[in-house]
């Protein structure tokens, strides 16, 4: 199928979560190939060749991240899988782990092998307890088959894999907060430098990768990095899981080839099949709640009139003025009935709740923004609040310890930038704003 190519190829096979069916469908072939025919360096080389970029949101090249890992003698190295997926709108990792636990485990073994880690962790969000049970069952099966433990497949390579649940904090998806939490401490992000590649878990060199990035290592090793790089456009190679939600006719998790057009993704028969109930598109958040929102006239076309594609570069085209980001692939669609002010408040409330409270701009700033937005939404806003919000944003952005501050500031900044008239309407018509929504904003003429 067109929207199930590499990772989700066998997702609908009954019993694929069990090891027998998984192996029958070509599972653990990449592992056999790697430990028997390849050296760890060759695996890293394939990942570099593939051009795989971190699927957690930042899009940093995975191969490069791996090559930064310090390798001092006599010090253990760790691989940690970040399965603390909690960004509003993103649910691709949960789907992958729930349906294909062995794909993640195979990816973990391959990646640990490449990095020379003998102990690896999957840090899973506390709310995903049922997924944890699925993974633990799968890990037990992998141990029984000799894919994990001592002397994997007779190669002499040992690996232990442990799943650890978090306490249910969004901030623990930040890699250094994740490591703190994994060490049993309060999940506060660490002050960087030093970076985890030098001083991570228990003070040892550590790589933290997203679930999808690690799963993508399986097809990369199986088919070669070049085959993976052949999919996609430019520096956006391979396939990407997109969790589409909101007012779509067919929301869900799709595996797309990077480079298809946004228009095809929203309206295509293979994908989301358009906006639900025949409504019109109003806005789109293409990469999870922390990326800038796009008004309808910038979703399928860029500001210069070119087709917008599902790639890291094309979605970012135009910077913060008219672009957004691919982020983690949490694709949220708003139809004409949705209220941008209410949605922005909802996002702000999330970040205010999830801020760790360690550094002052984020702790006080996110709470302040939430309160101002709540006032506007509930008919108590003033005109000067809009500029105040914009100013608070500027004072948070870039001044915090970790990217949560930026993630909290961007959606508010972009909503004000693109939907200022809707905010003004809310403030001018407080009682009307309680009973009806503003509707579509005027589409400017695109030259």
């Amino acid at each position: 199928m067109k929207n199930r190519r590499l990772l989700l190829e066998h997702v609908e096979v009954p019993g694929i979560e069990g090891i027998e069916v998984y192996v029958k469908n070509g599972g653990y072939a990449a592992l056999q190939k790697a430990v028997k025919k390849m050296s760890p360096e060759e695996v890293v080389e394939e990942v570099k060749k593939s051009g795989l970029r971190g699927r957690g949101g930042a899009g940093f090249p995975t191969g490069m991240k791996w090559s930064f890992l310090a390798k001092p003698e006599g010090v253990p190295r760790y691989l940690v899988c970040n399965a603390d997926e909690s960004e509003p709108g993103t649910f691709k990792d949960r789907y992958l782990m729930e349906k294909l636990p062995h794909l993640l485990i195979e990816g973990m073994i391959l990646s640990s092998f490449a990095l020379g880690a003998n102990q690896s962790y999957i840090y899973i969000r506390g709310e995903f307890m049922y997924v944890l049970n699925i993974l633990e069952k799968a890990i037990a099966e992998a141990y029984a088959k000799g894919y994990l433990g001592k002397n994997i497949l007779g190669s002499g390579y040992d690996l232990d894999l442990v799943v650890t649940p978090g306490g249910g904090a969004y901030i623990c998806g930040e890699e250094t907060a994740l490591l703190e939490s994994l060490e049993g401490k309060r999940g506060n992000p660490r002050i960087k430098p030093p970076f985890p590649a030098v001083k991570g878990l228990w003070g040892c060199p550590t790589v933290v990768n997203n679930v999808e990035s690690i799963a993508a290592v399986v097809p990369i090793v199986r088919d070669g990095g070049d085959a993976y790089a052949a999919i996609g456009i430019g520096r956006s190679t391979g396939t990407k899981l997109i969790s589409a939600c909101g007012n779509l006719a067919r929301p869900g998790v799709y595996e797309i080839d990077l480079g298809i057009s946004v228009e095809e993704f929203i309206y295509g028969d293979d994908y989301c099949r358009g906006i639900a109930n025949g409504k019109q598109l109003k806005a789109c958040v293409p990469g999870g709640s922390s990326v800038p929102i796009l008004p309808h006239f910038l979703v399928t076309k860029t500001a210069t009139g070119e087709d917008r594609l599902m790639t890291y570069e094309s979605l970012a085209e135009g910077g913060f003025a008219s672009g957004s980001m691919l982020g983690s692939g949490g694709f949220i669609i708003f139809d004409e009935d949705q209220c941008i002010v209410r949605n922005t408040w909802n996002f702000a409330r999330f970040y205010a709740h999830e801020s760790c409270g360690q550094c002052s701009p984020c702790r006080e700033g996110t709470g302040w923004m939430e309160k101002v937005l709540s006032r506007i939404e509930h008919g108590q806003g003033h005109m000067h609040d809009i500029d105040l919000l914009a100013d608070i944003n500027k004072k948070i952005e870039g001044n915090t310890i970790c990217p949560l501050g930026d993630a909290a500031a961007w959606p508010v900044a972009a909503a004000i930038h693109h939907f200022r008239e809707e905010f003004e309407w809310h403030i001018k018509h407080p009682s009307e704003a309680q009973t009806r929504n503003y509707g579509l904003i005027q589409q400017p003429v695109v030259a």
Binding site: I191, H353, S355, Q358, C359, G365, W368, K371, R375, N399
Partner: protein, 320 residues
Amino acid sequence: MVKVTIDGIEVEVEPGTSILNAARKIGGDAVPPAMCYYSKLPGTGGKCRTCLVEVAAGSTADPRPMPKLVASCSTPVQDGMVVNNKTSERVHNNRGGVVEFLLANHPLDCPICDQAGECHLQDLGYEHGSAKTRYEEERRTFDPIDIGNKIKLHMNRCILCYRCVFVANQLTENRVHGVMHRGEHAEISTFIEQAVENDFSGNMIDVCPVGALTDRTFRFKSRVWFLKPMDAERSCSKCCGKAVVWMFGNDIYRVTARKDKFGEVEDIDGKTAWLCNDCRFEHKSANDWNIAGPRLINRHSVISQGKYATSIEKPVKRIG
């Protein structure tokens, strides 16, 4: 040794020194304010963001500027680094923003706060804050609690610098307090109403930059600027016994550690002169101490500096 230029002044420091400590070596206006960093408590810093500076050139090898402002307390210097602190408009703006955030939920109760006159946030607000607040929302409030019979915790005033947590971790036998909850609701608290009771807990009061942790034996007894600080000493088996006693006439009102010009507890004979609770709370008679003489203190604070009336040309004066 590496060379670094801060606000146009060159200084040579050991490799690995933070920008803030390099600036402290220069002194004067080049020093960024620090609310959470405490050089005597390893691991502190990076949290308050008041010490943000602009790095105009990363190093001689890589002279590109750093895109974001960096926390000077936790960023090590590189050879050839060029840093702008006082001279940068961007730093000034963003520091003003941080001060605004710190004051957003901070009560403006300086007239009844024991810290007034020696409060770092008061100084910071004076230098970087605006006269009027833009914060119209309801402020976050907590009830003041007693943590032990000697220390009062006024959480409303806390800026979550984490210094007192580091004191408990590094100076006392076990830590029974810490930060609870998240984000705006984060608070310093003890483990289920446990009292903080150990010989060195009083140092939490000394490191607190604001009036969140105050001395219950001194609360509401006097404003600090009415008292004369005197260097004093007694022989103590637990600590160095070198302190400052704050006197009015022949009465000792309170005892604190000796602090340097950055408001940090001084090193005496190569060791940080932390005080034990016995010296701090139990010896309030002039007979208990050998009083050496008036303490030379840096009158850095808003009120003691007399900024309202006199010039600030001579910040260091002998009091008493």
